[in-house]
């Protein structure tokens, strides 16, 4: 496998897909999720882009496990008793497979070609993994394959005969290369067939030695043979299929029923996909079930505290790789204004605390808040005497809302004029290490991107000021939003809007409810795909989920969702959009999504810089034949 540092993305340079094994291991944090995915069982990993699906699966490869060394690594590795074969199905491959036999070849022939090409790819990956294992020379259950020269020859001869491959050198390497060549041959055959007529096509397809293999049956045959020839008949394997949401339907249709199958022995399937998928298997009654047939891992977080420890570790580890070791993140990023200090909490928001000052100010200035406090029968001067449960229910819940209103509203008691809304250029409310990590949603790509981007500032200044934190988060959110603005959302036939613009409208409504409307302790903060939403919007919402912009709020939902399954579910916006739209990063009352898609749009302009002129003398002189 070839690999290198990846090109820049919207969130920085790290991307697990083409990271070297060394880079992957360097950045890897062994979360609870990794321990689950490593179990000797079938597993489905669900997560939006950048959530670490690829990293989890790639870390199960022998080459990665070999490089990964620590006390925790040893513990986890001691429980892995299978050889992991990573099988990518990235966009490039999927789109290429989609075009096999086009234009003109009937669907059944196209499928035969795609199946054959994928089979060759899976076999290639198995052989590649075996080669890796031989090179590692590890006596471990996750890599221990020993083979001598003579056995290799016999094994390769057997495999080549079975797969109808002519080999002059009987080595695993030449078999792998021939399998690569087979993919090219299949492509050529497909191209010829698009030009040839239908006469004799059946015969040509039946007799072509490259075709008519089933990838899974052949994979089982291959590992069976490897086990036999290497004297370990009960060696277990795991096939790690990545990014199945973009894989062809036939592949998913073949794989998912296998999760229920008890007939595949010695093999575990580890499948990764996005939370939203248009799969025929997804909603079928006979679908395999999470908890029964496979373990499910969801790489998104409904509650912001869920990912805190992982996020903190990943940030620390990434900074350490940039030469910033043993950091005190609290010192670097400072406290979060939204989190009352320990002193405030222990004093129960009592007189003299910062929190008490904030609440008192709001009581004096904000009529709605005053009414709220009075209606609850709370005396702000005696908050420390309040029952802890009541304080949590009435005050702690309202506190972040009060802070947001203070940040973005300006009160003028004397004039009794209408409230003025502040256009804060660099609001401080999103700063502090706790807030910073919560806004990054436990998304590894976002966290690693932040660490890399801010490393120089931390090295030189030893801290990241609240303004710098805000600027970084806002710019990242802007870039994220620019991607979302390219995703169409159809609310009726041929009437496309952008998903990004639509989500901005949701955010505007939340801002209005939190900041502009009369105070409520339960403002809007989420949305619901209600029954009045047209079917056409469901797919766009799903695309937003897969992009990480929309988070499903259901704690009990256990599987991936097909379009029709989004209905009556509640969602929130990614907290990364909070600094961009000045909205709280907390769950709030749901807003019917149908109200949003019926609203009008606002246009926005972008600004930028100029560039130097060029010389026009290089212009080609055109010959018009005149």
């Amino acid at each position: 496998m070839q690999s290198e540092v990846s090109a820049p993305t919207v969130y920085g340079h790290f991307n697990a897909r083409f990271a070297t094994i060394e880079n992957l291991v360097d950045i890897f944090i062994p979360s609870d999720n990794f321990e689950i995915v490593a179990h000797p069982s079938h597993t489905v990993v669900l997560g939006p882009r950048g959530s670490g699906k690829t990293c989890l699966l790639k870390m199960l490869q022998p080459a990665a496990l070999h490089k990964w060394r620590s006390a925790i690594a040893d513990k986890i590795k001691s429980n892995i008793h299978y050889v992991g074969v990573y099988i990518p199905t990235d966009i490039s491959w999927s789109k290429q497979a989609e075009q096999l036999g086009k234009p003109g070849l009937p669907e059944q022939y196209k499928l035969i070609l795609q199946y054959a090409a994928f089979t060759a790819q899976v076999l290639q990956r198995i052989i590649d993994t075996v080669i890796d294992c031989l090179e590692l020379n590890e006596n471990a259950t996750w890599a221990g394959i020993v083979i001598n020269y003579r056995t290799e020859k016999e094994l390769v001869a057997e495999l080549a005969a079975h797969f109808r491959i002519q080999l002059t050198t009987l080595t695993l390497l030449s078999l792998k290369q021939k399998l690569a060549a087979r993919i090219v041959d299949i492509w050529r055959f497909g191209r010829q067939e698009t030009l040839a007529g239908p006469e004799g096509r059946n015969e040509r397809f039946i007799t072509n030695p490259d075709l008519n293999f089933d990838f899974f049956d052949e994979a089982l045959y291959t590992i069976g043979l490897i086990n036999d020839f290497t004297g370990k008949k009960d060696r277990q394997w795991a096939f790690l299929f990545d990014e199945l949401e973009i894989a062809p339907t036939w592949l998913v249709d073949r794989l998912f029923p296998l999760l229920r199958s008890t007939t595949i022995q010695n093999v575990f399937l580890k499948l990764s996909m996005s939370p939203f998928a248009k799969l025929s298997q997804a909603s079928s009654g006979s679908s395999p079930r999470a908890g029964h047939d496979y373990e499910l891992i969801r790489l998104w977080y409904v509650q912001k505290t869920e990912a805190t420890q992982f996020s903190r570790q990943l940030l620390e580890q990434t900074l350490a790789k940039r030469g910033i070791a043993e950091v005190d993140l609290h010192k670097i990023f400072g406290p979060s204004p939204l989190k009352p200090s320990t002193k405030d909490r222990t004093s129960g928001y009592g007189i003299g605390s910062k929190s008490h000052e904030v609440l008192t100010q709001a009581y004096d200035n904000d009529e709605g808040f005053r009414e709220y406090v009075d209606s609850k029968g709370i005396d702000l001067s005696k908050l420390d005497e309040l029952d802890e449960n009541k304080r949590a229910a009435e005050i702690r819940k309202a506190y972040p809302i009060v802070l947001f209103r203070q940040e973005f509203r300006k009160y003028d008691q004397n004039s009794h004029a209408e409230t003025v809304y502040r256009s804060r250029k660099k609001p401080q409310i999103f700063s502090g290490i706790d807030s910073f990590l919560e806004i990054l949603e436990g998304n590894p790509r976002w966290i690693v991107g932040a660490a890399n981007e801010l490393a120089t500032t931390i090295l030189t200044k030893k801290k990241v000021t609240p303004s710098q934190q805000y600027i970084y988060l806002r710019e990242t959110a802007e870039r994220f939003m620019s991607l979302l603005k390219t995703i169409p959302l159809y609310d009726r036939e041929n009437d496309a809007r952008s998903l990004g613009d639509t989500l901005e409208l949701v955010a505007d409504r939340i801002y209005s409810s939190v900041v502009q409307a009369r105070f409520t302790s339960e403002p809007l903060g989420s949305f619901k795909i209600d029954s009045r939403c047209p079917d056409a919007v469901l797919e766009s919402v799903g695309v937003g989920m897969n992009a990480g912009a929309i988070i499903l709020l259901s704690e009990t939902e256990v599987n991936w969702l097909a379009p029709e399954e989004l209905r009556n579910k509640e969602f929130r916006l990614s907290y990364l959009l909070s600094p961009y739209k000045h909205i709280p990063f907390r769950i709030g009352r749901p807003l019917p999504f149908s109200e949003i898609i019926n609203s009008s749009y606002q246009k926005r302009k972008t600004k930028g810089l100029g560039a130097a002129p060029i010389d026009a003398t290089e212009t080609t002189e055109l010959d018009l034949g005149l």
């Binding site: 820049p8 882009r49 620019s482 952008s498 060029i614 026009a616 080609t620 005149l626």
Partner: protein
């Protein structure tokens, strides 16, 4: 499959074309090259059936008056039509064994069909195809972000052929007025290597607006190699693209995203033709998001020439 020979200009300067092929669209500039009345035995105008805009109707009238035969997309097999034109042309004597193809209002897909068909041509004599492009007067970038509708290879033939699905992806991307789409595409494809091609124009307002419009893009890609190409020099652009492909095709899956001016798309296709089938060229279907701009010819025409191989 024949290798094309690519040249900056025609070898047969001054001689008549066998055929001139244009595509009628809603942009005013689609009539510009035809209005120069290049001498040709056959004049063919291709039109998409679903394009019923009033400006297209007006352009059809102009093209009709210039003596072009109009062919609707539903009424002809385009690949066969191109094959036939090239085959008939190949029987002529050398100075007139040439065809002009105006790409100014062509879809990128139609350009790909042209390039693939001439690569696939099996004729006794070579034929020279001049791809010509009418530059447009400056118009400011659209305010609304265009929406990404569909993403697939430009045609099935240009979907690349990569035998190793784990090989890293290298993306060559052309910039235009759609930086959001370009960024979005980079996120989508997740390339290991990226090379950005920025169009440059002698008219300051054009180059400036490209730079302004792409400010966020440039900030994001930071130290990524950037190649500025002169939109009036398609052959130089072709050479840059070909060289980038040559350097990467051995151990990368090379992809090209032809955003921006159509010069970039045709140069990409011709460069990819020399490395066929090792390059994946994307078709980036967009919805204009309620905006449709006219492009008016500024009088300048650029050309790049492909000569077909022989049997």
């Amino acid at each position: 499959m024949n290798k094309l020979t690519i040249r900056p200009k025609s070898q047969f300067h001054g001689s008549e074309f066998f055929a001139v092929f244009i595509c009628i669209g809603h942009e005013s500039r689609c009539t510009h090259f035809a209005s120069l009345k290049p001498p040709a035995k056959e004049k063919i105008a291709f039109i998409y059936d679903n394009d019923q805009s009033p400006r297209t109707t007006q352009n059809r009238k102009i093209i009709s008056e210039l003596g072009f035969v109009q062919l609707n997309s539903s009424e002809c097999n385009l690949r066969q039509l191109i094959k036939d034109i090239v085959a008939r042309c190949s029987h002529l004597e050398e100075p007139t064994r040439r065809i002009a193809v105006d790409i100014s209002s062509m879809t990128r897909e139609l350009m790909a069909i042209w390039v693939y068909t001439i690569m696939d041509a099996q004729n006794a004599n070579s034929v020279e195809i001049s791809f010509v492009y009418s530059h447009a007067k400056f118009s400011p970038p659209p305010e609304q972000v265009p929406l990404a509708k569909e993403l697939h290879s430009i045609t099935p033939e240009f979907a690349g052929m990569f035998s190793d699905s784990t090989a890293p992806v290298m993306l060559l991307i052309g910039l235009g007025y759609e930086p959001e789409l370009a960024l979005s595409f980079i996120e989508y494809l997740e390339p290991a290597k990226l090379l950005v091609f920025e169009p440059a124009h002698h008219e300051k307002s054009y180059t400036k607006s490209i730079h302004v419009k792409n400010a966020m893009f440039f900030k994001t890609i930071k130290n990524t190699p950037l190649i500025r190409y002169n939109v009036f020099a398609p052959y130089l652009l072709f050479q840059d693209l070909e060289s980038a492909i040559q350097g990467a095709a051995y151990d990368h899956r090379v992809h090209i995203a032809p955003y921006g001016v159509k010069i970039f798309a045709i140069a990409s296709l011709l460069a990819a033709s020399l490395h066929y089938p090792k390059v994946f060229i994307w078709n980036l279907n967009t919805d204009p998001n309620g905006q449709e701009h006219d492009r008016v010819a500024d009088g300048k025409i650029s050309e790049i020439v492909a000569e077909t191989g022989t049997v």
